[in-house]
């Protein structure tokens, strides 16, 4: 197995876990299980938090600043990416005090356009890579895909793991791929997409989370958005618990990104409550938590106006792209 880029700082127990394929397997299977009923009950319970007034306003602005504004369609055009970038810079033209989003997220061939549009804004350019969304290609192609995006100026890479390898128990292979992609990222941040909708069990989500963290992923991300179910609250709970445990063991802060299916402010606030109470308040920053979303931003903007103006306005008052 390739050495993970983080290995020098790993505590002995974790360094030992990544020594070889068998150790990695023992480690992942030795993690405490996740009780499905329990985690779903906890997620539903936290979902009843009532966030109002100043607390809600703070949550909306924070959520806007955590959005990875995404377009990942076969029909994407340079024009669409340009307007997405404009929206990212100034989400609500009538309210210049609305914060910028955290990043835009596009396919590798659109990175150049996004870079041009966002130069100097501080907004990150995230690119999916590694044969997104299926991950079905050779390692060589995946690394070239990554290098292509990074060379074009991407500051964040959203890679997909090889779910086939993971589900058939070839953890070492998945680990190696992540390590090598991380290397190919150079300075770019790496988000590791687990595609939890295909992992099927919470135990697998926990194992994949740890695998991503051990291999050096800066973020673990739920989904591509191309598979249903995409992000769910209980899955995000399990992943938030994993980064919290990682912090307890290593002192390092790693991020979580739920993606796909989060469309309303109400949903976004439930996720923020989970971040706040499961991982901890220090994760309430765009450096450590992101929303992978496209339609969510407009609902956040509409709810923000409602908070300020005291009444709802229609979808025609926010821009469609």
């Amino acid at each position: 197995m390739a050495a993970p880029s983080t290995s020098p700082s790993l505590p002995p127990a974790l360094a030992d876990a990544v020594r070889d394929d068998a150790s990695l397997r023992r480690f992942l299977h030795g993690l405490p299980g996740v009780d499905q009923v329990g985690v779903e009950q906890r997620a539903a319970g936290l979902g009843t938090r009532s966030i109002k007034k100043a607390g809600k306003m703070w949550a909306i602005d924070t959520a806007i600043g955590m959005v990875d504004l995404t377009t990942l369609e076969g029909a994407d055009t340079h024009g669409k990416v340009r307007s997405l970038a404009a929206k990212a810079r100034r989400p609500d033209p009538e309210h210049p005090d609305v914060p910028q989003v955290a990043a835009v997220c596009v396919y590798p061939d659109m990175v150049e356009t996004a870079v041009r549009e966002l130069d100097g804004t501080g907004i990150d350019i995230a690119s999916v890579a590694t044969a997104f969304p299926s991950g079905r290609s050779s390692l060589k192609v995946k690394l070239e895909d990554t290098a292509y995006a990074v060379d074009a100026g991407a500051t964040e890479i959203d890679m997909v793991i090889d779910r086939g390898a993971f589900l058939s128990g070839r953890y070492g292979q998945v680990f190696d791929e992540i390590v090598q992609v991380k290397h190919a990222c150079r300075d770019a941040h790496l988000k590791v997409i687990l595609e939890t909708g295909e992992l099927a069990t919470y135990d697998n989500v926990r194992r994949a989370s740890w695998l991503g963290l051990l291999a050096g992923g800066d973020f673990i991300k739920t989904s591509t958005g191309k598979v249903s179910p995409a992000a769910t609250l209980p899955v995000t709970h399990v992943m938030l618990q994993a980064v919290r445990d990682w912090h307890t063991q290593t002192g390092e802060l790693r991020g979580v990104k739920p993606a796909g299916g989060i469309r309303t402010t109400k949903d976004a606030i439930k996720y923020l409550v989970a971040v706040h109470e499961v991982a901890g308040p220090e994760w309430l920053t765009a450096d450590l938590f992101r929303f992978g979303a496209s339609t969510l931003l407009n609902d956040l903007l509409m709810q923000r106006r409602t908070q300020l103006e005291g009444h709802y306005s229609g979808p025609d008052y926010v821009t469609v792209d």
Partner: protein
């Protein structure tokens, strides 16, 4: 830092009245006892004045119940009784918000619990038992089991409405009539339930509700014309009642205290075990007879689990019971608060290691911050006596046999929890537990279909499920 803004439920929803009266023979009437003032434990303000029963009132209520039993309820076909009980269930749902807010005001429990647990479960008990009313012949107690007559029931303050439902629903379904005394500090929701019973057009006298202190309870349980006594409350009072009834031939069920063990094996789903431990002891401020107040954790994961537990407990929000984000509300009375404080002091004195959540507490009202004692040994008072508050005692064990031995080493035996991913271990441990309810990988889950009750000093008889019907049938 993200501060959640206050999100209080409006207290107007409770329709609080300045005075409440007792409910006898279908009417709200003034009792001859000294009126009591019921207090909001969250703020210490007086909520309302409630008239209480004198011994003569108890007699009147029992006579009314007897009349209703003889003339109407006892001989009514089960399918007809069911209609009334279904109606009560639906009315509880309709007036659910009112009942939830009133319960939180009077009892101090957080609104999210009264809203999501107490009221829906109370309605569920009426729905469930309404279904039994015309099927009693199939319950396994013979082809046509008969009711007992008049049931005298005394309930505690920790789940005022829910306990009333647990008592009244099976009694009515089986064809008995009821005289019920709610707890002195929490009479209000039971009296709104009386309104609902009136709304449901139940024949007068079938249900009578008499607020008052222990003396009224004693008058109810010792009344010679009561055929069946059901009591939920302290072991001390339960023993008194049992002594009173010995030799009278009257049927008795007791649901008393507990000191439940929550056993976490090293192969448990740790994060969910932490949730279960929190839910086990901090649900309803720990005012739960089946609370998981003794945590038994396997040595090899003790440190990791305790660290996770402290982090989790620190996130519990203690405060205004009406705030929708409150996790732990107010202790029900000053008296109970004092009792908790005293027992916690013995924990310190006996050398246990005390950790208390740093959460802020309101200035007014009765509050106690969530507390975890580690390094507790089996001989300490905090490991043996029921604290009935948000205080957890943590003990460790090395082998499964030791866990079972320690768990069973208590005069109580109401509930137990087992946490392990191994199915065979769950079955093994559940068989060894001397407890009426054993939860596996969960805790404090209540369902009207599941019988609930204890061993030894936790009482006898079961409530809920098919088994629970036995207590109200002449079998």
């Amino acid at each position: 830092m993200w501060e959640y803004a206050p999100a209080p439920e409006s207290r107007d929803i409770a329709n609080l009245k300045p005075t409440y009266r007792m409910f006898v023979d279908g009417q709200f009437v003034e009792g001859a006892g000294e009126p009591l003032k019921t207090v909001n434990p969250g703020t210490e303000e007086v909520l309302a004045e409630v008239s209480t029963a004198a011994p003569a009132d108890v007699d009147k209520a029992v006579k009314a119940a007897r009349r209703a039993y003889d003339r109407v309820w006892g001989k009514m076909p089960g399918s007809e009784r069911a209609k009334y009980i279904f109606r009560i269930a639906r009315l509880i749902q309709e007036r659910g918000r009112e009942l939830a807010v009133l319960e939180s005001l009077d009892n101090g429990k957080p609104i999210k619990e009264s809203r999501d647990v107490d009221v829906p479960t109370a309605a569920a008990h009426f729905f469930y038992h309404a279904g039994w009313a015309d099927k009693l012949g199939y319950a396994g107690y013979g082809p046509d089991p008969k009711p007992l007559g008049v049931a005298g029931q005394v309930i505690p303050w920790n789940f005022p409405l829910l306990m009333a439902a647990w008592k009244i629903a099976p009694a009515l379904a089986c064809g008995n009539t009821v005289v019920l005394k709610p707890a002195e500090t929490t009479p209000l929701t039971a009296l709104v339930l009386a309104e609902i019973i009136q709304q449901a057009d139940l024949p007068p006298g079938v249900v009578n509700i008499l607020p008052g202190a222990g003396d009224v309870g004693a008058a109810v349980t010792s009344h010679p014309d009561v055929d069946k006594v059901a009591f939920t409350g302290s072991t001390e009072v339960g023993k008194l009642i049992q002594r009173q009834l010995a030799g009278t031939g009257r049927k008795l069920t007791l649901e008393l205290g507990g000191k439940a063990a929550n056993i976490v094996f090293d192969d448990a789903p740790l994060d969910q075990a932490v949730e279960g431990i929190v839910n086990g002891i901090f649900f309803n401020q720990g005012h739960v007879c089946c609370a998981g107040s003794r945590l038994l954790v396997q040595e090899s994961v003790a440190e990791e689990l305790l660290e996770k537990l402290r982090v989790r407990v620190s996130t519990l929000r203690v405060g205004d019971p009406l705030d929708k984000n409150t996790d732990v509300g107010a202790i029900n009375s000053r008296e109970q608060l004092t009792k908790i404080q005293q027992l916690v002091e013995t924990g310190d004195a006996e050398g246990a290691e005390r950790w208390t959540s740093a959460c802020p507490l309101p200035d007014k009202g009765f509050y106690f911050a969530p507390t975890v004692f580690s390094n507790v040994s089996q001989a300490m008072r905090i490991a043996r006596e029921e604290i009935f508050g948000p205080v957890l005692s943590v003990l460790t064990f090395r082998t499964p046999d030791e866990a079972v031995a320690k768990a069973n080493n208590t005069p109580y035996g109401l509930s137990a929890g087992i946490w392990t991913e191994k199915g065979s271990r769950i079955l093994w441990a559940a068989q060894k537990m001397r407890a009426g309810v054993v939860w596996a990988n969960t805790f404090n889950r209540f369902d009207p279909t599941a019988p609930f009750g204890g061993y030894q000093e936790s009482g006898f008889g079961r409530e809920g499920g098919r088994t629970g019907l036995e207590a109200y049938l002449d079998v």
